[in-house]
Symmetry: C2
Subunit: 379 residues, 2 copies
């Protein structure tokens, strides 16, 4: 089975690519390395010394069948040439600008995020139509497409059963989009776009609405220095739990936005890789709507999480004015029944895994740029 | 009051711009003339001899305060320069590729339609954020965002009242997107995008979900040969009623797709101009969601419409395999309460207005290219 991983050099893409290779897929990683370029522009390269892509690939060949193809997914000519050569069985689509704060920095970032993410997804599906290829496409979505309101009950997977007031009819509708940033917006747009491609051209598509990823290495990326995964601690790209542990490890106050009353869904990076693998093997029936799985392990309150880390690591918590427009506090309940039915057994927040993050930060703290700890984005 | 009309050289944009000027707006028409370029590429220029933009503008100055600015709305530098100079009170956004069949022709057309329409809308709002401008933005949507199903009852304006099965709570949600082509998809994406800009940056936005426009001239465009509106009869850009009357006028069988059981909403071009003017003067409250009006006059069954035209003009009807993926027949009921509450008194299908179309076609039939009557798009 041949897997094409678009964006396979990124934080989630790299460990997932290696996991798929270890599980027997022939993996082609396609990436334009834009994440590395943006990190350099922001003065916030990966805390871990990730290797140049060539070295990574050489080391990855010891894990399984892995090759690299330089590709900008918005380039239709290069993309079609690659697809025609590969004829992949499954495509995993990570090739999107994935930071909410970055997408809110200014005009250039708003336009780049929409153009890269939406045009990239459209270019991909349009190319597949042109070539007559119908691989299973697994797209990385986000829990953020739902918004963070408990009004609609426990978050089901992508769809909502409602009774229409006007007619009294019971119908199942796509979950109403309620994005909280330009980045989250693009995932809502991608979803609507993929629904049309599924309906009109019969694509089998899975959209994984993922929680906030934490941790850095998986068993595979941790097994070889040349395979080490990237680690972002900065205000734009560092995800909240990783940021908080990094701050504690270097004696910086833990920065909580607003009251800290926000509840969010989390998943460990090793589970990201496992879940994507489970999803690749379980395409929806041909002719179905987009299959949605909530790719989350557990829900935590951000303020409580910060306090727990502060207590363990003898650090202080400080509350900043919330740069985001969001509710000061919210309840959150999430179903992850789909991936569980495929065998997903989540790794939940454990001291040992948090210790691993702290140890990583301790090991590389000379590389840490304190000037980029705070987010510059304002909503 | 200053109005900026993006896409003001097009079929709807031109008569609307003149109407706004006649009503006292200082109008800037911004356009990259892409509609003219695409028509030339397709071998289907306007049947009516529309004038070069410079001649149009010279003549328009006799109607009111009108100027022209060449602009590609996806060009952020040019767009921001224009906005900074104008500081418009209202922006009417027609600058989108507006043909469903064209958007389904192939890879290049799918990509152009998404890139032009979605990036254009995002570039516009992002520029307004950057400049701190908050004009009322009136966007042209389409009835096609709703899909053509009677399951949800009479189509309300943009929103749907439902009871969530899981929680029993009554909520109002955005109408579920159900586009029938890449073009219609882009209007769904625009809508979700505008909801985010309204929510996060407090924009006042009106989305006009317009029916199928028919007719060619308004009182103003018909008053001066140099102001004549464009008329499309081809399979890609000709709207259904205009296409059928054109076919009858030249002795071509009236081409109905499939059974002709489709019901669609219609509006005359002069009502388009009037409705947009009404909408410009009625922005939603600041802090509101996007205000949606269904810009339609009446609903007709396509097969019955074709038969009526055939009977009147002594022509024949022929049924073609439907190139589109759509229901063979559908019921359709549409509320247009919003615009009616502003004073909209629809012009409905009248013999005299149809005679006007037939007369226009008769007058210019030497310019008609019979090779482009049938659509080349297949869904």
């Amino acid at each position: 089975m041949k897997a094409l991983v678009l964006g396979g050099d990124g934080f989630c893409g790299w460990p997932t690519s290696l996991h798929l290779a270890a599980e027997g897929y022939a993996v082609t990683i396609a990436d334009n390395l834009s994440r590395r370029a943006i990190a350099a522009q922001l003065g916030a390269p990966s805390l871990t010394p990730i290797r140049p892509i060539e070295e990574r690939i050489t080391a990855a060949k010891r894990v399984g069948d892995v090759e690299f193809a330089p590709l900008d997914v918005t380039d239709p000519v290069a993309l079609q040439a690659l697809l025609a050569r590969l004829t992949p069985d499954v495509i995993v689509h990570f090739a999107e600008q994935r930071s909410a704060p970055y997408s809110m920095l200014g005009d250039a970032e708003r336009r780049f995020t929409v153009a890269n993410n939406v045009n990239g997804t459209n270019t991909l599906f349009s190319a597949l139509v042109e070539l007559g290829q119908r691989p299973h496409v697994v797209h990385l979505g986000t829990m953020g497409v739902y918004g963070y309101s408990d009004d609609l009950g426990e978050l089901q997977e992508g769809y909502l059963d409602v009774r229409v007031a006007q007619t009294g009819r019971d119908v199942t509708i796509g979950y109403p989009a309620n994005p909280g940033s330009i980045y989250h917006l693009t995932k809502c747009l991608d979803h609507t776009l993929m629904q049309f491609y599924a309906k009109n051209w019969g694509f089998q598509i899975t959209d994984l609405h993922q929680g906030i990823v934490w941790g850095t290495d998986t068993a595979i990326t941790g097994s070889d220095e040349a395979l080490i995964n990237r680690f972002d601690y900065d205000g734009e790209y560092g995800t909240v739990l990783n940021r908080l542990v990094s701050q504690a490890a270097i004696g910086h106050p833990l920065t909580v936005y607003g009251t800290g009353g926000q509840s969010r869904a989390f998943i460990h990076i090793s589970d990201t890789a496992r879940c994507v693998h489970l999803a690749t093997g379980a395409p929806p029936e041909p002719g179905s709507k987009v299959q949605v799985f909530n790719q989350v392990a557990e829900v935590h309150n951000v303020g409580a999480l910060a306090q727990m880390i502060a207590d363990r690591m003898e650090a202080k918590v400080t509350h900043l004015d919330n740069p985001r427009k969001e509710a000061a506090a919210n309840a959150l309940r999430v179903s992850n029944a789909g991936l569980r039915s495929l065998g997903f057994a989540p790794h939940t927040l454990q001291d040992s895994l948090m210790d691993e993050i702290a140890a990583t930060v301790g090991r590389y703290q000379d590389r840490l740029n304190r000037d980029v700890i705070l987010s510059k984005a304002r909503w």
